[in-house]
Structure formats: structure tokens, C-alpha cells
């Protein structure tokens, strides 16, 4: 029931695979089409970040149940260069204003919960959850 689906990210093609996995699970959980599109966009950004900055990593997607709510959790893992100044990366408009796309602040906005753990030289782990309303 609570099994995780993981997709190796190592090419642009695998971004699509991660999106597909996310959309399928989101639909199963019962998210509507707008939220499906939002979750997929968030996954796209996370996978793209891995592909661009860490070269390879993993996107894992699972259904989460907490008390009386149910949601989807997306985890992005990589052993890339890590993020030096997390405060700066998470600043509003830091990424979008450069036209680079939604970036991490965008993912945070698209989802309900967002945590990031990063060590320079060791890699980055990002967890993002969206609850079904």
C-alpha cells in the first residue's frame, strides 16, 4: 500500500518518466486535473534540477497518510555538489527572475510542505508533500 515508486534521473527522458509516475500516483490518490498538473510541474522542476546540477539522482513518489488526511510525497535525492546558501536559493524570485524557470521556490509554492537538506560536496535531499483537499 505505502510502497514507493522511484525513478533514476540521468537523462532528459527520465524527467518524463518521473512526471508520468507522479501523475499516475496523483490520479490514483484522487487529485483533480489542476493539482495533477501542479504536482507534475513540481516533479519536473525537481528532476530538472538534479539533471542540470547533480547530473544524476533519484525521484521517489509515494502516497502518504497522516491521521485523517492523505497526500502525495515527492522526494528528490542526489549526491551532487550540494547547495551552499540555502537561504539565498529559497529567496523569492531568485530563480524565476533569471528566467530559469520556477526553481525551488516554485516547487515550494506548488506543494504544501517542503523541506530541504543539503551538504556541500555530499548532495541534496528535498521532500515535498501535497495534501488532498
Amino acid at each position: 500500500m505505502m510502497s514507493q515508486t522511484c525513478v533514476e534521473v540521468k537523462s532528459e527522458w527520465s524527467i518524463v518518466a518521473a512526471r508520468q509516475a507522479g501523475r499516475t500516483i496523483a490520479k490514483d490518490i484522487g487529485f483533480g486535473s489542476v493539482d495533477q498538473a501542479r504536482i507534475t510541474t513540481a516533479i519536473s522542476e525537481l528532476a530538472r534540477n538534479i539533471y542540470l546540477y547533480a547530473k544524476r539522482g533519484q525521484i521517489c513518489i509515494e502516497k502518504v497518510v497522516l491521521l485523517n488526511k492523505v497526500g502525495i510525497k515527492v522526494t528528490a535525492l542526489d549526491k551532487g555538489p550540494g547547495i551552499k546558501d540555502i537561504r539565498k536559493v529559497m529567496e523569492d524570485g531568485f530563480t524565476t527572475s533569471g528566467g530559469l524557470g520556477a526553481g525551488l521556490p516554485g516547487v515550494k509554492r506548488l506543494m504544501d510542505e517542503f523541506t530541504i537538506d543539503s551538504t556541500v560536496g555530499e548532495g541534496t535531499t528535498i521532500d515535498a508533500v501535497k495534501w488532498l483537499r
Binding site: S33, D92, A102, P105
Partner: protein, 337 residues
Amino acid sequence: MDKFDIGLHETYKSILAEYLVTNSEHSLYKAGKFSRELIKNNMSPEDMINLHVSVVQTLIKNLPKEVSDTNDLLLEVMVGYGLAYLEHQSLRDRQKQINSEFAVAAKMQKQLLPIEIPDPITLDVGIKAVAAGPVSGDYYHLQEDENGYLSIAVADIIGKGIPAALCMSMIKYGLDSLPEQRLRPGALLENLNRVIEQNISTNMFITMIYGSYDLQNHIFHYAGAGHEPGFYYQSGTNNFQDLTTKGLVLGLKRTARFQEYELKIEAGDFLVLLSDGVTECRTEDGFITRAEVTTIIKKYLHLPAQKIVDNVYDELEKLQDFQLQDDFTLMIIRREV
């Protein structure tokens, strides 16, 4: 189908149904009002698209499957706009926060300026100071002392905004901490220059005119630091004369020297001190010239000093299409008798 407010769904459905029958401007007007309502409720554009799609599905029977497919793709594109929209809302909140900070800062700046304009019996003084942005980078000073001197200054920090506001408080504390040098305005600027040179970064400069008006003998002692020259108006000839000064801007060179001048003011004559925001205001047809400023002043010669500066401001504000390019400071000191 996503859930959204049933009221919105019904409203949009009735507008759309009406439009399908009437094709009328009246329905489109309702759509415009509806749009305003959505934005007021922070409804994101992809939710709006979804609402539209869902209403279209209930209104048009046998909608071709292809049309629904194209809507799915449209939704995907609109999520990007949704992000921009969310960013817009948080920028707006941030902007509101900064605006309220600026409001407090502007109040603090006001406290650096004279609380009331001195009104010596023999003089008529008018001052108009307006910041181009939320905080000012112009500073002025007007203070009558117990020895019968009125000290007068106008300063302009090169640059605007927050850094200029930070600088401005330094000028005030700098002036406060310096001993009075009524008859030696050049020496005063030398000391102030040293304070500034020590305390601010190499790329912040200040222009200033500083003078001391001898209320007994009507002699104006002054010196300038790279500042926009003022004017001396002689009622006898009905002419303006430039108050040119020699001296570098403050903060540039620690050992700068400032030439001192003195000027005898006759009854009916007046001094005009200003910042370059008055003379360099940009209009559609280029820049205002100094001659244009004096021409405007001449139109209001018969009025009290405060009315003159107010009127000059009003005219120049309008010429600039109500968008000041630089902080504006204009001061008139007229010898009445």
C-alpha cells in the same frame, strides 16, 4: 474534476450560458466584472481555466473529445502562469511590507529636518522639499541662532533611495557635532568633508551649499561643494545672478578646500537655493533649463516666498507628468525691509 467554489461555478455558468444565447456586450461586461472578482479572491489562472473547461463541458453537449484533450494541454501551460501569479502575490506582500518600512523611514527623515521654518522679522522664508521616491536624498537646514545669524544649507546626496537616506542622517549628525563657524562656511565644509570621507564608502558623494545669513547687516556668507548654483534676485534690475561657488563634492578628497563668498542683500532682493532636482527635471521635450526656472519664479514675484516655491513646484511637477526624476528642494530667502 477539481473542486472549486460552487458559487463561482454557477456564476460563470450563467454568464457563459447568457453569452451563448445573446453574444452581447452586456455578457462580456459581466465577464470583466467576474474576472475582477476572481482576482480579488486570489484565484489562480489555472484554476480559472479549469473552471472554464468544466463549465463548457456542462453547457455544450457532445463536446468533441479532441477539444477536451486540448484543454488538458492548456492546463499544463497555465500552471506556469499560476506560478508567476503566486509569485506576484508574495511580491505584493513584500512590497507592502517595504512600503510600510519606507513610511516609517520617511517619518524619521522628517525629524532630521527643521521642525519649523525660522521666521526672522526682516526675512520672508519659503521652502518646498519633495522626495522623488519614498525616502529623500536631499537635505536642508535652516536655523536661527542667538547671535543673529540664520544658518542655511541645502545638500544633495548623489544617488537616491535607501543608501541616500542612510547618508542623510550622517549629514545631520555631522552638522550637529561641528562647532558653529558662522563667518567661515568654507571651514565648516572642510570639517564636514572630513567626517563624511571617514564614514562613508568611496562611491557616495554629497553636494552642498552652506551659508550664514547675518540678520543685522544682511550679508550672506557662503561656500559650496560641487552643488547646483543658487540665484540672487535683484529687484532693482529684475535680474537673477548665479551664486557660483568653487569646491569639490564632499567625500571625494579628505583635504578639499572650499572658497568662501559674501554677498550683500538689499531690501526686496532674495536668495534662491536649490538642488539639481529643480533645474534638471526632465520633460517630454528634454530638460528644463535654469533660465526656465527663473522665468517661472518671475511670474510669482509678487507673492510671499512660500507661495512662490509652492507654485514653482506645481508647475514643474506637471511639466514632468507627475513623475519626479530626482528629489526636489527649493528655498527662497527674501529680505523684506
